[in-house]
């Protein structure tokens, strides 16, 4: 059935709201996935264009639930295609892909902090699903249910995934830091 102009207008208004509310989320997710601003911009653009095409159906099927997981799932799928098509691997975050129009405080913060730089490097060593779950939780502030919807998993499986991700990250960070003074004293005894 043809859509009425008023329905289409309301749909576009809703899409505008979604865009304004989650542009930063999609961009942050994309950036932490691909590791540079140039490709993060492309990924964000493609995500919103694809979302625009399928927005009516998504809204109809959402039953009033938030659409952020759906949006992030689009970005997630596009990022997977990005690696597959270009045979790329995630780059170390916070690279210098090109000049930025505005300074990004997060980058400045990370550049000045070895511990943050180290933890980001360790995040990149995690398996894809664990890395993505951590990005969704800590960069986007998504709860377990939202992450589960974005990754197409159950709430329980997502909780386990997050727990294991943090555990593995702890191990990687500890390994990267090397033995502490206390460890060396203990070893000498």
């Amino acid at each position: 059935m043809a859509m009425e102009a008023t329905d289409k207008r309301r749909l576009d208004d809703d899409f505008s709201d979604l865009y304004r509310a989650h542009l930063r989320d999609v961009y942050s997710y994309s950036y932490y996935r691909v590791g540079n601003h140039h490709d993060a911009e492309d990924l964000t653009e493609q995500t919103f264009l694809q979302a625009y095409r399928h927005f009516e159906r998504a809204q109809r099927e959402s039953d009033g639930r938030p659409l952020r997981p759906w949006l992030i799932r689009i970005a997630h799928n596009l990022a997977a295609n990005y690696y597959r098509d270009r045979s790329r691997k995630p780059q170390t975050p916070i690279d210098d892909a090109g000049p930025l129009s505005e300074p990004i405080s997060t980058e400045t913060l990370v550049e000045d902090r070895d511990d943050l730089k180290r933890i980001l490097e360790c995040v990149q060593e995690l398996p894809d699903d664990r890395r993505e779950a951590l990005i969704m939780r800590f960069a986007l502030g998504m709860d377990n249910r939202e992450i589960a919807r974005a990754l197409g998993r159950t709430d329980g499986a997502t909780k386990v995934l997050l727990h294991r991700s943090i555990r593995q990250l702890e191990g990687l960070v500890a390994k990267a830091e090397g033995p502490t003074d206390l460890d060396q004293i203990e070893a000498a005894r």
Partner: protein, 122 residues
């Protein structure tokens, strides 16, 4: 390192990143292209086929759909721009709406003209 420490560091290291201003402009430009495509659909519509009244119901659906797509996309853009108070691009958006309105008027005018030319009405 304790889990709590790792989570604290993760929150700091994975802080949200503001998208560059160029991204918003590029995204709007791409949406503009969608609007132009809808307007192009209107221009490509063959008015000559309207001369045969048997084609009217079928032909009418196509430009109407293009008008809906074009107008609605423009409305979406206007909403975004209003929010961001960027007046410089608002003019371009309203011209697309104007184009759609003018085309609609032309279609109506042409349809009326064709209807008047039909045999039996003279």
């Amino acid at each position: 390192m304790a889990a709590a420490d790792v989570e604290t560091l993760l929150r700091q290291a994975l802080a949200p990143i503001e998208p560059p201003a160029e991204l918003e402009q590029r995204l709007e430009a791409t949406l503009d292209t969608l609007v132009e495509r809808a307007a192009g659909e209107l221009e490509a519509w063959e008015l000559s086929s309207m001369r045969d009244p048997r084609n009217w119901p079928r032909q009418a659906a196509r430009p109407a759909a293009a008008v809906v797509v074009g107008s609605a996309a423009a409305v979406g853009l206007v909403a975004l721009r209003t929010q961001r108070k960027r007046h410089r691009r608002r003019a371009a958006s309203s011209s697309v709406l104007d184009l759609a309105e003018r085309t609609l008027r032309d279609v109506a005018s042409e349809a009326g003209r064709i209807a008047e030319r039909r045999p039996g009405r003279r």
